[in-house]
């Protein structure tokens, strides 16, 4: 299969790459760009571990073909420490013990980031719905929802 050319912005940096058109977005991010913070769990869009932000929207990067990256503005977990809300979320996840094995954490933080960017005043129920596409088998979710709620609170205060 011939390669396709992709130009896009990822974590604020411009890219111009050749990709296999059968590659999924997660393949490009992890294998071609070497950004392994994005995790592959179920591979069928159910677990949310691979969540990234594509043009402002949370998407499951295992359910998006590489071609959709053309011209796009993409954020992955690697950018979070450099962004105010991302940083608050990371700190809040640590403070609230919302991380146990950690495999789901990047996906949760990306979903929370997309949600709070669109709706900074999200209620607890809206937060629960916003991360309904992310599975965690360790924490039981309460700490995760607490962490997102706290980060939103700090964000509003600043």
């Amino acid at each position: 299969m011939r390669k396709i050319n992709l130009t896009f912005t990822l974590n604020g940096k411009p890219y111009d790459i050749e990709a296999n058109p059968g590659a999924r977005m997660i393949d490009v991010i992890r294998d071609d760009l070497g950004l392994t913070g994005t995790k592959e769990g179920c591979s069928v869009g159910e677990c949310g571990a691979c969540t990234v932000i594509l043009n402002g929207d949370a998407v499951a990067s295992c359910m998006v073909l590489a071609g959709s990256m053309q011209g796009a503005d993409i954020l992955t977990i690697e950018a979070m420490s450099e962004l105010k809300l991302g940083n608050l979320l990371q700190e809040s996840f640590v403070e609230e013990d919302a991380v146990q094995c950690g495999f789901c954490t990047p996906g949760f933080i990306m979903s929370a980031y997309a949600l709070l960017k669109k709706n900074p005043d999200a209620t607890r129920q809206e937060i629960r719905e916003g991360v309904a596409g992310n599975l965690c088998r360790c924490t039981g979710y309460i700490q995760i929802v607490n962490a997102i709620e706290n980060a939103a609170h700090h964000m509003r205060e600043e």
Binding site: G45, E46, V59, A60, L65, G67, S68, S111, A114, A132
Partner: protein
């Protein structure tokens, strides 16, 4: 790595028509990918297919408010439908159904046109589109035509659309504000479930409580989306009593073995349909009337 023959991304309908004319071999239209990417993982079934990615065609991503209809572009995402003020005003049952699709990550990268073309009997938008009397605009051999929704379906995961036929949009007649609706989804778990059954209901009454419009159908139950004029006729023109409601519930659940045959799920689905139908209709009609 998924196996395709080639991948082409098109940005307009004109580019699309040019692309399909020059492609040799079967074409696979990509309108988001939440079904296609799952299916492509299973085997090499699409090895000789050329993927034509139509998800970025702006003309297919608008919701237009015409005099009598909402015209929803095929590539409008489920999330955009769920959040659309127009859809929430004129076809709120469809907004609710779109919100029940998958998770926000899936809703952001899946489309109503893709949902129709995939033709899963469990597609959440089908029962609401059926009671709304939706039509589908198809581009075939350079000509656009409007066909009733049910006409494109042949069976589970099967439409009569050719691989180069494009669903352009879905035309949904606008509901007036006094049409009440209910969308109920039964799944194996609360979030992110594939529907076991959906029930879509529209009900309108005049100032005397006489039913002027009634449409009710199930999804994830029949091979194709269905509407039932005989069921509608059971309430139209009446001020429904408790008995009328029970009759409708019985008649609706009787459709399950009648149309889908006796299946392993029939013993479960029939009573679920009957009891939910009673609950839905009591709620929509209001308790004062059949007290």
């Amino acid at each position: 790595m998924l196996k395709f023959r080639d991948y082409i991304r098109v940005e307009s309908k004109a580019e699309y028509e040019k692309a399909i004319a020059s492609i040799e071999g079967p074409v696979l239209l990509l309108a988001g990918g939440s079904d296609l990417l799952v299916q492509a993982r299973q085997d090499d079934r699409y090895e000789d297919h050329t993927v034509v990615d139509i998800f970025g065609i702006e003309e297919l991503r608008t919701i237009e408010d015409t005099e009598g209809h909402l015209v929803i572009g095929a590539c409008v995402t489920h999330e955009a439908i769920a959040q659309s003020l127009l859809v929430n005003r004129y076809a709120p049952i469809l907004a609710e159904a779109a919100l029940s699709v998958g998770s926000v990550q899936i809703r952001n990268h899946s489309s109503i046109g893709g949902n129709l073309a995939n033709a899963s009997p469990a597609a959440d938008t089908l029962a609401p589109l059926a009671v709304l009397n939706a039509e589908v605009v198809i581009l075939k051999d350079g000509i656009e035509s409007v066909v009733p929704l049910a006409e494109i379906f042949e069976g589970p995961y099967k439409t009569n659309l050719g691989d180069r036929d494009l669903i352009v949009s879905v035309r949904v007649p606008k509901l007036s504000a006094d049409v009440r609706h209910d969308y109920t989804k039964v799944g194996r778990r609360k979030a992110l479930s594939i529907s076991r059954m959906t029930i879509a209901t529209l009900l309108q009454t005049d100032e005397n409580g006489v039913v002027t419009r009634f449409d009710m159908t199930m999804g994830a139950t029949f091979p194709c989306p269905m509407t039932f004029p005989d069921i509608s006729a059971m309430l139209v023109g009446k001020r429904p009593t408790k008995e009328d409601i029970s009759e409708v519930a019985r008649a609706l659940s009787a459709k399950i073995p009648e149309i889908a045959g006796i299946r392993a799920s029939t013993r479960y689905k029939q009573p679920v349909c009957r009891r939910l139908s009673v609950r839905i209709l009591q709620e929509l009609i209001g308790d004062e009337q059949h007290a």
